[in-house]
């Protein structure tokens, strides 16, 4: 470590307790629904999670489960299982980990995901989600439905707000196609459950989702305050709330408490560390096996007021526009032509950033291919340099934590 980089006292927001309660309630719901014999579905990020609660479905998320395996050390064995089956090395870590857990459940961290009755693929981020859904459905011999969305371009939506994801417009042709695709999903779920969708419940769930989404948006905005009030170690898990639990009461309760904590911090001018020296942007799927890296940086005085991957997971839900809200969820710069990066970067100006640490997730084309254009735009628009670290989200063998720390230290030296 460089001589003048003293480790500081670290003072996180305290979201750990809230996450624990959130997952406890999530698992209790699962258990209760399983007892009632409700169908189990596997879903992916950017899926309209509200429908899980409208239809009382048991939900499992291969991405979340893979991250859990990565954090607990079983993902490398599971990845090796998938490679031995002939799957490519440079595929999504979430896929490789999940397929390993299906084929060799004894190698996976318990509790494993409940066996699905159906799988929903969604092209709201990547085609890999559709491919994963296809493979998982084949392995489990269950039906699969794919919700399709466009890869958004300026031509189709104009400019968009990088936080709320509200676009200037949505070209009618594409909007109608998305709505038809979502209506197809509702038909599919009605077929799976054998029940007509309750309109009242639909409205109720979207009201909860709206309130939750507003709180989540406030949290990511407040993170940009000076000094940075919280740690990315705890903010990064917001993706699970936004992706998978939006529409539930427990997500709302979590968001309310989380908002209160960060609001009070900002009001009192308290930061995650006493002496904030660098304000950094981060992007890329978080390396779930090495999350202590954030704490390490923060203790060095390098805080993260913005995490674009977390920001991409959050969008504004409007209960009176449920279908538009479901479509809006997919309007983010990781599912759009690169012109949209400028909209996102515009919103970062108030964060007063000094640099960026970007994670190139080996095997994830969506996040990795955008890294260099993003770095170029950050340099061009904000005048800040970027450090790119190769960091597959579930395979620590490719990313040495010590090497990453050295790279970061050297990078921080250049920011002086």
């Amino acid at each position: 470590m460089a001589i003048n980089m003293k480790m500081q006292e670290w003072n996180p927001l305290g979201y750990k307790v809230l996450y624990k309660e959130l997952f406890k309630r999530h698992l209790a719901r699962q258990e209760e629904l399983l007892k009632r014999g409700r169908p189990v579905g596997w879903f992916f990020s950017f899926h309209p999670s509200e429908l899980i609660y409208v239809f009382d479905l048991v939900s499992a998320f291969p991405e979340q489960y893979s991250a859990y395996c990565a954090a607990r050390g079983s993902s490398t064995d599971l990845i090796d299982v998938s490679l031995s089956m002939g799957y490519g090395h440079f595929l999504c870590d979430y896929f490789k980990t999940t397929i390993g857990s299906i084929v060799k459940p004894e190698k996976a961290t318990p509790p494993t995901m409940p066996k699905p009755d159906f799988i929903i693929g969604s092209r709201g981020l990547c085609i890999a989600h559709c491919e994963m859904a296809d493979v998982f459905a084949r392995f489990n011999k269950v039906p699969c439905y794919v919700v399709n969305y466009p890869y958004w371009t300026r031509d189709m939506i104009g400019r968009h707000d990088g936080f709320t994801k509200v676009p200037e417009k949505i070209d009618e042709t594409y909007f109608e196609y998305c709505v038809a695709s979502l209506e197809g999903l509702i038909d599919f779920l009605e077929g799976i459950t054998g029940e007509k969708m309750s309109e009242d419940k639909f409205k109720d769930v979207f009201r909860v989702a709206e309130d939750t989404s507003k709180l989540l948006l406030e949290i990511i905005r407040l993170m940009m305050s000076k000094p940075t009030p919280g740690s990315q170690r705890e903010i990064c898990d917001l993706v699970f709330v936004a992706f998978f639990a939006l529409g539930s009461m427990y997500a709302y309760d979590f968001a309310r408490e989380a908002y209160n904590l960060i609001r009070d911090r900002v009001k009192n001018g308290v930061g995650v560390v006493p002496n904030e020296r660098y304000r950094l942007l981060t992007f890329g799927i978080m390396p779930w096996h090495s999350l202590t890296l954030y704490e390490y940086c923060e203790r060095l005085g390098a805080t993260f007021p913005a995490n674009l991957y977390v920001n991409e997971s959050v969008h504004l839900v409007e209960a009176d526009k449920p279908f538009e809200s479901m479509v809006r969820r997919t309007i983010h710069f990781t599912n759009a032509d690169y012109e949209m990066i400028y909209d996102v970067v515009e919103g970062l100006k108030e964060a007063d950033l000094d640099g960026a640490i970007l994670f190139e997730n080996t095997g994830c084309r969506v996040t990795s291919m955008i890294i260099k254009p993003l770095a170029d735009i950050l340099e061009e628009e904000l005048g800040i340099p970027s450090l790119i670290i190769e960091a597959p989200q579930c395979d620590p063998r490719i990313m040495s934590l010590d090497r990453a720390k050295m790279q970061i230290e050297a990078f921080l030296e250049t920011l002086k």
Partner: protein
């Protein structure tokens, strides 16, 4: 084993037909493209087989499937992850080096994650006057078909506005006819590969297909028509040890195919996006050309980006491979898997499982290709399963 095993060394056509080399030179030099350009034609590069070239053709422009010529990718590697497929990195490299300056526009399609972002990366770093990404549907439902048809119509109008020409349905129908004729001729040439004494080897077949992306299809059709009779009359390949099917995606390195055949195999069929996958599947010549195009391009079995509802994406691809293998009476399969290929990364396991009755050699391909590295394994494979 169904192959004819006559002697140890594969000796290909004695009276070598010059068409493959001629067409391959058009691919390498782009001479025909530059000639069209000089004559005032606009050149539109496409980033995937999924882009319906007929639309571009009907607007008086020349569509050309982009396949990079750069052997190394040092510039592209600064803009893209190094583990990405060579196909994407080589196109970007060509663009960054200025090799593609003859292009007037680029058209992509959302057929896979790499190609989708390649479109954005390419247009971000290599500016073109025109660019468009066609939105693909992933399910062959009625709704998707209707949407895709509308999307193709939208693309046609955007391009016609850019080219300052009026879109004309009759011209589109005419272009569809020209492309169907191209497909018919390719099918006929392909048919000459599967007979006992193949009239054309795999490397030459690839050269022909590469030539087809470097000429207007009407010109290509004429070249092939003129040479077809002579090709049919040629002696054919008699001496080979093993009939091989080649499986892969956007592979187009002729040298590796030449190596395989120089070691005693004959490549009698393939499912490559750059060869058989490029031409397979006719467009219905009906009164609703956009719907006909949508139908054909959503059901390209050589690719996997769409499936019928509740039908696995891989099923059609495996069906296509099996059909080709059966037709060609191949004894073995060589898989050329680009280490960064997304499509083959997903499919390889299932394909190998489905083809377990066949001897399969899996080669992980990286660029630049080291022929020497593959030689030993190919040789051993041919020795093990050939006569």
């Amino acid at each position: 084993m169904r192959s004819k095993r006559i002697s140890n060394n594969a000796k290909h056509n004695k009276r070598k037909n010059t068409m493959p080399d001629h067409l391959y030179s058009l691919f390498l030099t782009k001479s025909k493209i530059l000639e069209y350009k000089k004559a005032g034609k606009r050149i539109i590069g496409t980033l995937c087989n999924g882009v319906p070239e007929e639309i571009i053709h009907s607007l008086g422009a020349m569509p050309t499937r982009l396949l990079g010529l750069s052997k190394t990718t040092e510039n592209a590697d600064l803009k893209l992850p190094r583990w990405l497929c060579a196909y994407a990195r080589r196109i970007l490299e060509d663009g960054l080096r200025g090799y593609l300056n003859y292009l007037d526009g680029v058209v992509g399609i959302t057929s896979d994650d790499t190609k989708m972002r390649l479109y954005s990366t390419y247009t971000f770093y290599v500016k073109n006057n025109f660019s468009y990404i066609i939105q693909m549907s992933y399910v062959r439902s009625e709704n998707s078909l209707k949407f895709f048809s509308m999307e193709l119509e939208r693309f046609a109008h955007k391009l016609s506005n850019h080219l300052l020409c009026n879109f004309n349905l009759d011209r589109l129908k005419e272009s569809i006819k020209i492309y169907n004729k191209f497909r018919l001729l390719c099918k006929e040439v392909c048919g000459l590969r599967v007979i006992d004494t193949p009239k054309i080897c795999g490397a030459d077949w690839m050269k022909i297909m590469l030539g087809s992306v470097s000429t207007l299809k009407e010109d290509f059709n004429k070249i092939v028509e003129d040479e077809l009779a002579s090709l049919k009359d040629s002696e054919g390949v008699k001496d080979y040890k093993l009939r091989v099917h080649i499986s892969g995606a956007d592979f187009y390195d002729v040298e590796l195919l030449q190596l395989i055949e120089s070691l005693g195999a004959i490549i009698v069929s393939d499912d490559l996006c750059t060869a058989t996958g490029y031409f397979s599947g006719f467009v219905n010549e009906g009164e609703e050309p956009f719907e006909d195009l949508a139908e054909r391009y959503l059901s390209c079995s050589a690719c996997t980006f769409t499936a019928h509802p509740n039908v696995s994406l891989i099923k059609d691809r495996i069906g296509f491979i099996k059909k080709e293998v059966e037709r060609s009476k191949a004894d073995a399969i060589i898989i050329l898997r680009d280490k960064g290929c997304e499509i083959y990364g997903w499919q390889c396991s299932s394909i190998m499982e489905e083809l377990q009755d066949f001897p399969v050699l899996l080669l992980d391909i990286d660029t630049p290709i080291s022929l020497e590295q593959y030689k030993t394994r190919i040789e051993a494979f041919i020795e093990s399963y050939g006569d």
